[in-house]
Symmetry: C2
Subunit: 358 residues, 2 copies
């Protein structure tokens, strides 16, 4: 049995270019995306260096266009030192990312003046996404209400956060939000088993938090996004493991399993993983693009055969129902039976392109 | 020349009862209030112990009723450990105070769950005031917008904060705010001279911040409140001086000086110091109550003759125009020519009342 879904869009992935290419690159990251049914990926700006100037962002976008196997759009990062770049960044980027809380990488905004500059100078037609935990969610809502412009809250993970967002939506505050599969399927109870492979920002929460997220899956939650954050196993098992877990290849099977278990409908899955992300982030259409899945296929998620460069998943060993069989992007078969089907040899092409092709 | 003003209301004072009676008490604090033209004082709950239970708050209110020379209403303090007290506290207190930022005393709320409990369970007809600096102002606005209930932002001190509040008001977010005289008349430039006597929370700001506050004095700013925070000179000159400065006796002369200098009208002064505080905090009327001032009197503020127990002011040496001559409270002359006129001997009455008069 085969079901055809639209190409999915992940609004939250770390593809690690530039500076973290040993963890992931545009080729390996978008191969993983296709394996997971995603034909559009929005890449985060907390790279090394971070994407805080329009010049750098344009160069990295050119590299993505050359190397990626599906469509990649880049976030700009908000930075107190570069608020004068906001208008130019706004022309080059798909959206602005503001980090209110500490996470991986150097980007963080803690002062109100920078927040005001972002809300005043970021183009009104482009979204502002915030890493905002706890009271930080209220910061995002306050700015959205004060400036009358939409805010997207990333990776909501706690009962109090989704309750506040639901209340704000009911009052007409222009807010949208995403949740990750790891916050929907894992809890703090999994941390002793997973060790550093269960560490990410926001951290895994309590069963009551997970229950609250599921209770809002048909209402206050707009998107499921992966927060795909690959690190090598060596890094994760080092003395100071960086936070973050990969997720591009496991999000759709996990969510299809939830459909099989009656936790949401397939229509809602498509809204969360395709329609809402494309609407909220004004993503361009991809004609003749679809994902073929076998919703009945039952198998164990595994570290074997992953296309992400980091080569592991915190969900290894979980039995899921639903497998990506084939992905067609703009009429072309780009993924089939676990393998990328591309006439591009990504790395070879990259070295050819060093001369300057955009 | 004499002008008659309505009795002023200070929505932000620390009267230090219980636990800090060596700094101030209800008798000395309200004597200072009358000397400053205030016939109503709202007292903050960061006492020792803090006012976080209804039982304690009622006992302290009884003490205030017995000892105070003018009307005193008490704030309840929000505390993660006492959210179950909120409905009972709401019946006993004039308003709820939430400390988002570190300041003097033990009260602080950093978790979203407690904030949500406050906004859900505090009586809708009673105000919620927040010590919220920087992005904390946006937290208050977000909660106000999400729950559709008014928030009062205490002692706004920076250009970015008042700009955000002005933007939020323009969008219909139910927010009000206060500024203090010290943030209107002093800057960081005064700190080398004042030393610890120039240290308070929020700290003194830059000239551009002060200019922004004055630019909003007729619009986004609703109240002038003292944040009267007495500490003894010995404490202020100790190794770890506590933040805070007294202000009840100097607020009105300073604001009258601003009127004399053409920075605001006398009508606006009355709105900021009497009408708006009474409206926002739903304070009971005080019939036959007024303050007589001589707007032409010019003199130097001084540490001599102050009625606050702490006996100093950060404004000592400043020349002001405008002196309180007389205060009449409910038809009775209670202050004249620098002295409290009361048939109460406050401390004697207090000892008589220990039997239980309310």
């Amino acid at each position: 049995m085969t079901i055809r879904l639209p190409g999915l869009a992940d609004v939250h992935a770390h593809l690690r270019v530039p500076g973290g290419e040993h963890k992931e690159d545009f080729g390996s990251g978008t191969a993983a995306a296709l394996a997971g049914g995603f034909t559009t990926v929005l890449a985060m700006p907390n790279t090394s260096p971070p994407l805080v100037t329009a010049d750098l962002l344009r160069r990295v976008q050119q590299q993505a266009n050359a190397e990626a196997l599906c469509d990649v759009h880049l976030y700009a990062g908000a930075s107190p030192a570069h608020t004068d770049e906001l208008p130019a960044l706004g022309r080059a980027a798909v959206a602005l990312k503001i980090y209110l809380n500490e996470t991986f990488g150097p980007l963080r905004v803690t002062d109100l003046s920078t927040l005001l500059a972002c809300f005043r100078h970021w183009p009104i037609g482009k979204p502002i996404a915030m890493h905002a935990e706890g009271p930080g969610v209220a910061v995002g809502l306050g700015l959205a209400a004060a400036f009358g412009r939409p805010v997207h809250i990333c990776h909501v993970s706690r009962a109090s956060e989704i309750a506040l967002i639901a209340a704000a939506k009911a009052r007409g505050v222009p807010v949208t939000c995403e949740v990750t599969p790891h916050h929907l399927f894992l809890t703090q109870a999994n941390v002793p088993r997973l060790g550093p492979l269960g560490d990410m920002r926001p951290p895994l929460a309590e069963p009551a938090d997970v229950a609250a997220l599921w209770a809002h899956i048909d209402t206050a939650i707009d998107c499921v996004a992966t927060d795909h954050a690959p690190h090598t196993l060596a890094e994760k098992h080092s003395e100071n493991p960086p936070p973050g877990v990969p997720g591009l290849e496991t999000a759709l099977p996990l969510m299809l399993t939830a459909v099989a278990d009656g936790r949401l409908t397939l229509d809602r899955l498509v809204a969360l993983l395709a329609q809402n992300p494309r609407r909220i982030f004004h993503l361009p259409e991809q004609p003749d693009t679809w994902v073929e899945i076998d919703p009945a296929a039952s198998y164990q998620l595994s570290n074997e055969g992953l296309l992400t460069k980091c080569g592991w998943t915190p969900f290894a060993g979980m039995t899921v129902r639903g497998r990506v069989q084939r992905v067609v992007l703009r009429g072309k078969l780009v993924f089939e039976d676990g393998k990328v089907r591309s006439d591009r040899d990504v790395r070879q092409r990259h070295s050819q392109d060093k001369g300057g092709r955009s």
